[in-house]
Symmetry: C2
């Protein structure tokens, strides 16, 4: 039997005989002896084979990379000059007495320590890819985070209750994954987008403190931080208000960061949604970047310059400045690149002013302001821009002027890009962790195309008590009892106090243009049960994949998921999805729509 | 804020002021005061409303069952003669000072303490049903069991790694649930029947000790102990043999029973599959019933009686006796009922002999043996039956004679039925917990209809080293390195040491009649990866639903699942599955086969 893990054998084992099992990570001959670095999940240890034991030497000699070996030997100190201070096992080596080949290995598709692999190669050969120490570390951190959360919540009396995976399709929000029913011809289950309704029903059932670490599904086109199936840390409580729920989950987040990666997050500031949008153009501001928007919309309403004036006069138009301290040194080429960058977000251009001399704010020749647009603006306006942004000599100000949404997204993204690229040297980017709560979200957002209001969070979110009157009169004014936990520009989790009265739920459905019949058809089981004594309740859901990605510093959530899908929603390892037998389709009462197979069937 | 849970307030709280929140379980007027039993997840507490505080009294007076209330009051001793020793809160009551109605409740569809509800009513009104204390207890026990397992395995260095829910369909074993792909026209994901292949791949990837508590899916017709989605405790390890794996999981089971319900399971005996079938006709014998089969097949090969002789001469035929101590008192009517019972399992009749006088074993008139069949058997045979069964005066012997499978199932079921109905009084049933390991399973079972061998466990199970030679020459003789944990007649878990060499896996596929191309098509990703240095590995999977059902003594696994499906695979709460929009089907490239909707589309 194995006595120890390879990667944990250190100086305390000197003189002991150990039996280890693992993979031949590297094998080399040197000075008449053979060295094998044996690898297991805990790391590497160096094993030495001496020709004195010819049987073991011969086997070691025939060993190739990734062979599975069992080795027994004595731990001894490495000769002077050959120690490696970076490794736990760097002071010792194992003098092998015996070796058994537990399994051979074909030459793997790539070296385990190859750092330059395309994601395609990695995902196709995911099993070998998972052997890489960084992937082993990521999976273990993911596990550790989940267990820390479980034990933390357990200590607070939360219990994990499993909700169904095969559930009801309620086309709302994202697209459902459907599962045809064999027993019920023409009917379908849906995979859950979240356990939202079930967790609310568990509160109505009296479970009081629920959590679940659970797979959720959304059939959407994928971005870097999205997967068709993702893991949610889902929390719901009864009888707590938003402050109490935020306190519990903030404490949990602090605990997990402390225990898992030794980071003290400190107390989370709270920022109103309106302030976040005003200052950062985003409801998940990355506060490591200290750059802020300066509001200029009002100022431009009286200027002639039509690029700014047009945006200022637009319904939902916005004009902002973004002061970049020391930005006057940004080159023309860089500004061109930034202009292309903001175009991705729909911006039609990127106006700027370099402040070469803050004491000369004229709009004519010889001005201290360098910019194609200076001549179009009044001197009073230029003065006010400098005052409001606080710009000084050597700074640059970028401008965004368009529909509010375009300005927020484009200048918000620019803020991050400039901040991350130049901020550390220039003092407007701080490494580390910047958590915050964003609160006071609007209840609804206007969908102008559809001519209706949509729920910002979801249609079960409670309005602020003092805004209930706006539900019918002015839905856009109505704020929700909703909150997002944001960290370094990522939404870690979001939640709300829910509606616990059936009449209020009906009113909100009405505001959303969901008629009584539609509501009953889609959410009848919720409405019915709200009538039977639903307690006040609320909760929050965290994205585990994102949380762990952020903690590891990985580039993609695919690096913290053992068997992820590509952006085309495929598993390159198993080749899923795949074609199925006609017999299977018949049993499920469906046929293919387009393919040759469909025509034959 | 709530200061305490209702159900936990006991004599230690006397004189304290508490604030509690919960549901009005019962409300009654008595002697000019109002009593409300307030219920939360921890239980009930009695609250008294005195007319001295008219505001609170008026609200209490208007309260109906299942209203959600917040009550503040002082804990005082109950008057003498009104205490209730059965309740934690039975010595105290709370004198209310204030009460707030947090939510009203319509009259619920049934009383929370109604014990006589049909399952249909319960599942349709599942949210209210879950308020019943027994359901609250079941869900919490389920959670506690899962957490005990997590922490136990964590202590042994296991880590939970999530495997995909959207995976590849490999029609093998049970029927897959399919999920049409929107991105890949004509292709489907399958929901996993188990994470079997992924957990093996994780071993190849070097994770060494894996577990997962995970949803699995089988689209099969449902029995009482089956659900379309069920929860598996899935375990896999590298470098351990079957004894080591059984030791770890047996210790885990003992730990969980001890900590969750205070039961000491003791050491698990091990029984070979062949012995289990010989003695109990079952690979999951309920050892609480001590009745055993007596093998009579050989004996009947020389008898004239064609019912027995025919079965004895049959290929795969079997004749057994089942001695029931004291069974001579079983009535004709009861025997008729047992005969009908075994017919369910395909038995064509149920022969028996009552031993009225063991000293007179003649087959003629005046025999001490009472039976319609005695005259058909030789006296030597009767003597041998008595000797082998050990029957004595007052006993009864039932007989099974048919194909082995029918005998095992029919007499096996009879053994349990008689054992459970009559065994406790007669001394052949012991209450309590009877765990065992069943080991040495066959590798293959013959499918005569298909003319081929099927895998008994699954096709990735390793044969016993000493039986490898039988793989080609005599598959029926080949035993597997497989093991089942059995408790009180339920299979708690099953597992095996897996095949870790690609060549051996190919040989086993061959024995199963799976050609090279088919194997590569279905399991290529496993075969490929076995070549890159797969460690010896094995594991086990427990059914969490069954485990908890057994622990609670519930009648159905539906009683330990928050939102189960009916036997027709429906959720009566949400009405899933349901019909979906034509637009959804179009996006998934499928259409309905049979319905009107399909014809219109």
């Amino acid at each position: 039997m194995r006595t120890d893990y390879c990667g944990l054998i250190d100086g305390r084992y000197l003189g002991q005989t150990v039996t280890i099992k693992g993979w031949a990570h590297r094998r080399r001959d040197h000075g008449g002896v053979i060295f094998i670095d044996l690898r297991d999940r805990e790391g590497l240890v160096q094993v030495v084979f001496d020709p004195d034991i010819p049987e073991a030497f011969a086997i070691a000699d025939a060993t190739r990379n990734e062979y599975v070996l069992e080795i027994t030997g004595e731990v001894r100190a490495r000769p002077e000059g050959t120690t490696n201070a970076k490794m736990i096992t760097g002071q010792i080596e194992i003098l092998a007495k015996s070796i058994t080949v537990l399994n051979q290995a074909a030459t793997p598709p790539f070296q385990i320590d190859d750092e330059n692999l395309s994601e395609n190669v990695r995902l196709t050969n995911r099993v070998i890819d998972l052997r890489r120490p960084v992937m082993q570390k990521n999976m273990r951190l993911r596990y550790r985070v989940a267990m820390l959360i479980r034990n933390y919540l357990d200590g607070l009396g939360f219990i994990d209750i499993e909700t169904p995976m095969l559930t009801r399709s309620t086309p709302e929000g994202a697209r459902d994954y459907l599962v045809p029913s064999r027993v019920h011809d023409g009917q379908f289950f849906a995979l859950p987008q979240s356990p939202q309704l079930f967790k609310q029903l568990l509160m109505v059932a009296g479970f009081d403190r629920y959590y679940q670490i659970v797979k959720c599904f959304r059939d959407e086109d994928l971005r870097a931080d999205r997967q068709p199936e993702f893991t949610q840390i889902d929390i719901e409580t009864s009888f707590l208000n938003e402050d109490e729920i935020m306190d519990i989950t903030e404490s949990m987040a602090k605990h997990v960061f402390k225990e898992a990666i030794g980071v003290e997050l400190g107390d989370f500031p709270r920022m109103a949604y309106d302030d976040a949008m005003r200052l950062y153009g985003s409801d998940k501001p990355d506060l490591r970047v200290s750059l802020q928007f300066t509001e200029l919309t009002d100022l431009m309403k009286t200027e002639e310059f039509k690029v700014f004036r047009g945006a200022a006069d637009m319904e939902n138009g916005r004009v902002v400045g973004l002061r970049i301290p020391g930005g006057a040194s940004i080159s023309r080429k860089e500004i061109d690149d930034y202009t292309k960058f903001v175009a991705i977000y729909g911006a039609k251009g990127l106006a700027y002013i370099k402040v070469n001399d803050v004491t000369n704010l004229s709009n004519g020749e010889g001005s201290g302001l360098q910019s194609p647009i200076v001549k179009n603006l009044s001197e009073a306006c230029l003065q006010e821009i400098i005052t409001r942004t606080g710009a000084t000599t050597g700074d640059l100000i970028f401008f965004g002027a368009d529909k509010e949404k375009v300005v927020n997204e484009a200048i918000g993204a620019l803020r991050l890009k400039v901040g991350h690229e130049k901020g550390e040297a220039a003092g407007y980017f701080t490494r580390g962790w910047k958590p915050l709560w964003v609160v006071d979200f609007p209840m609804f957002e206007r969908d102008d195309d559809a001519g209706r209001w949509n729920a910002c969070h979801h249609p079960f979110t409670s309005p602020k008590v003092e805004h209930i009157e706006f539900l019918k009169s002015d839905p856009g004014k109505c704020k929700a009892r909703a909150y997002d936990m944001v960290l370094n520009g990522w939404e870690m989790g979001g939640g709300s106090v829910r509606i616990h009265r059936a009449d209020m739920q009906s009113t909100v459905f009405e505001a959303l243009g969901i008629g009584e019949e539609e509501a009953q058809n889609k959410f009848g089981f919720l409405l019915d049960n709200l009538q039977f004594g639903a307690p006040p309740h609320g909760g929050l859901a965290f994205g585990l994949d994102r949380l762990v990605t952020l903690m590891t510093g990985a580039e993609s959530i695919r690096d913290v998921i053992a068997f992820p899908k590509t952006q085309r929603a495929q598993c390159l390892l198993t080749n899923a999805p795949n074609e199925v037998d006609e017999k299977q389709l018949r049993e499920l009462h469906i046929r293919l729509r387009n393919t040759q197979q469909a025509n034959l069937a």
